[in-house]
Symmetry: C2
Subunit: 457 residues, 2 copies
Amino acid sequence: MRTYPEYLEELLDFLRIPSISTLTEHAQDLKSAADWVATRIRGADIQNVEVFSVDGGHPLVYAERLDNPGAPTVLMYGHYDVQPVDPVEEWDTPPFEPTLREGRIYARGSSDDKGQLATHLFALRDLSRVWGPRWPVNVKLIIEGEEESGGASIEKWALQNADRLAADCALISDTAFLKPGLPSMDYGLRGIAYAELEVQGPGRDLHSGLYGGGVLNPLSALARIIDRLLDLESGRILVPGFYDGVIPVSGLDRDQAARVPFDSGRFLEQSGSPALWGEQGYSVYERITARPSLDVNGLWGGFQGQGAKTVIPSRAGAKVSMRLVPDQDPDDLLRKLEDYVTDLAPEGVTVACRTIHKARGVLMDPSNPFMEAAAGALEEVFGKAPVFTRCGASIPISTIFHVNLGMPVLFMGFGLPDDGLHSPNEKMDISQFYGGIEAVKKLLGRLARFTAGRPIK
Amino acid sequence: MRTYPEYLEELLDFLRIPSISTLTEHAQDLKSAADWVATRIRGADIQNVEVFSVDGGHPLVYAERLDNPGAPTVLMYGHYDVQPVDPVEEWDTPPFEPTLREGRIYARGSSDDKGQLATHLFALRDLSRVWGPRWPVNVKLIIEGEEESGGASIEKWALQNADRLAADCALISDTAFLKPGLPSMDYGLRGIAYAELEVQGPGRDLHSGLYGGGVLNPLSALARIIDRLLDLESGRILVPGFYDGVIPVSGLDRDQAARVPFDSGRFLEQSGSPALWGEQGYSVYERITARPSLDVNGLWGGFQGQGAKTVIPSRAGAKVSMRLVPDQDPDDLLRKLEDYVTDLAPEGVTVACRTIHKARGVLMDPSNPFMEAAAGALEEVFGKAPVFTRCGASIPISTIFHVNLGMPVLFMGFGLPDDGLHSPNEKMDISQFYGGIEAVKKLLGRLARFTAGRPIK
């Protein structure tokens, strides 16, 4: 068996691969990262490994070892792709030159999700050395490379291969502790509906001296549309019908939330914002977990350089995403958004609204034996029972595992709140990485004691 | 004497210099363009030429030949810098590889203003060969390299050297005919007040899943601010006090406008916009010439790449410019803009407003002998008397010549309306270039018959 420091060295190799899935120029890096994963799976004595592409997308890695029809089956998921790195000048060390400082691994993807995915692979490798020729747990792995770019490949393939993926539970390590020493497990995640708006005005860029005052500026039109998406005073989203289907915050939610040591002052401090903001009538914690939200993720048009250019641009654009809670339907909301922005567009421009990606939210009953087994494993390793939480972020594949394939999803995340996901200087604590490997081993050990396949739907 | 085709060849060399004044990496190109100008002035037998920098800015070229105290003095102005070229992919031929097609010169700066400035230089060269040792007109030239980036150097230097620049009239060729065969002379230009807004929200880029709904997104705040600058229905600018000091459209304006063959349908077609737009109660022509306007020239923030990034950006920004008419004061309006956007900024962000550049508008009496001389020269060369117009664009130096130095400014422009200033595929018609050289020679010939220096203030 290798030692944990040796696993750390292997992880650093994984982190050196710039597998940014949203940028087409990194396609080869995605392939390299998929191969890295497949090699590690084989190293855990799982020989049935497939690496394949769906519709020309980044590779999926599927693997299985099904030794024991009477034993439970766990479906392990992770993603080897990472977010873009801009603004790259804000990184203290280069994002793809992983650096160890003060017990932390600084690199893009260290926490989201390469470092966490690696805990599964190294836990299996350790267990393969002790389990012998007939594993007491059936294992399936599905690892993707498009989580940060919409996950089209895995969604399509998983829905078409539901029988193949059938399992008693899914295991996803792509979330975080509430704070150091306090693990948590999500029983809910928000969904997402991500769209791009394009406003078209003049047929070409115009001189603002010669045309200013005579044509509608598409940037003014876009600002009007964006401004009418949100009421900044009440924090309410103004897309008509947006709140249809929102499951209200429940007594269970409030009971669980009471156990969460959420500090809104600390949240504010971590954000670096001048003030808190959000939907009136809800706590900060509810706003970012159990209530839907809408954000403009990008906005552009005209001259962005230094100095001045006196131009009326012909086009302007924006990225707009909505975070959804059950039972909001992303397709329905994207249609409502499109209808609304079309209505808002003033005469003098045309507007287009295009879907980038989408996923439903997830909400589960936290009292099932699989979640209890995972909770026990976390407590055993980290010394504290996890708190059950709702998470504001989206893991679209969990929608498929839970809503479409009908299995409980164990969100056993090993990140920490200050990991800086999607931000410059992303990091993972080495102790969380080591503890993660250990906890996955403990969970699989507990599942080995379950006597029947799929005892719980 | 060289022939006009030889002058065309010299102009193409001038156009090959990428003298973009807003981009610091082109500083050396600005120097080269200034040297090109200085060499041509010496070639016109004017030996008193200075090339110098003010506060490290792009070079100014000042030259004079004052042979005759009893003769009138003309101050000739032009600029050798050009606009940026983005979006460069929309150019049919590279912007700095001038190309002749169908009697036109395609290149950045061909019409604005290198091609027009060159008419002065080549006219003087021709005249120097016939005028002999004692010129019948005193000539001063001031050529700058910062017209497209705010003109700070020339403004400062001209105000400090008002006596040196004293002249009976100024000549500027940086405007356009109303259509082929119909020259025009501006008796008014709009001023400008150009500012940059920056909205600061979170201390760093945040994950929109983990923070969405809990902090105010600076892009939403910026959209609110931009949306409240203009009432899109009435076309009115909403900055409080914006219309204080606006000189109403006069009977003279309406009389002159009636002579202008302005076709709003053609204006719409040239803009490529889906519809006309503007301030209610005014004609399209008035909106773009005699009425002030406000435009967003650029807007940015967050993720602008392909696909999706689920980010709440820490910052967002915009370029906002106001086109002013007499007697609006740019400093006053920039203060009002700053106060207004500060008031509009919701809690949860801070906003900064920074001046980029500014100039007052110009409005002159078109019935003075210098304008009449210029009109006669244009009619002699192009076969048609010019129409007197107000122009919507800004030539900040004309403010100094007229408002500060007290001389009439002859806007004798040789461009055409479809030259594509500030746009891809900028061009100048070769016949306009040749006619321009001829018209400048005729104007100077007429001024030579004026008997006294500064007969008209």
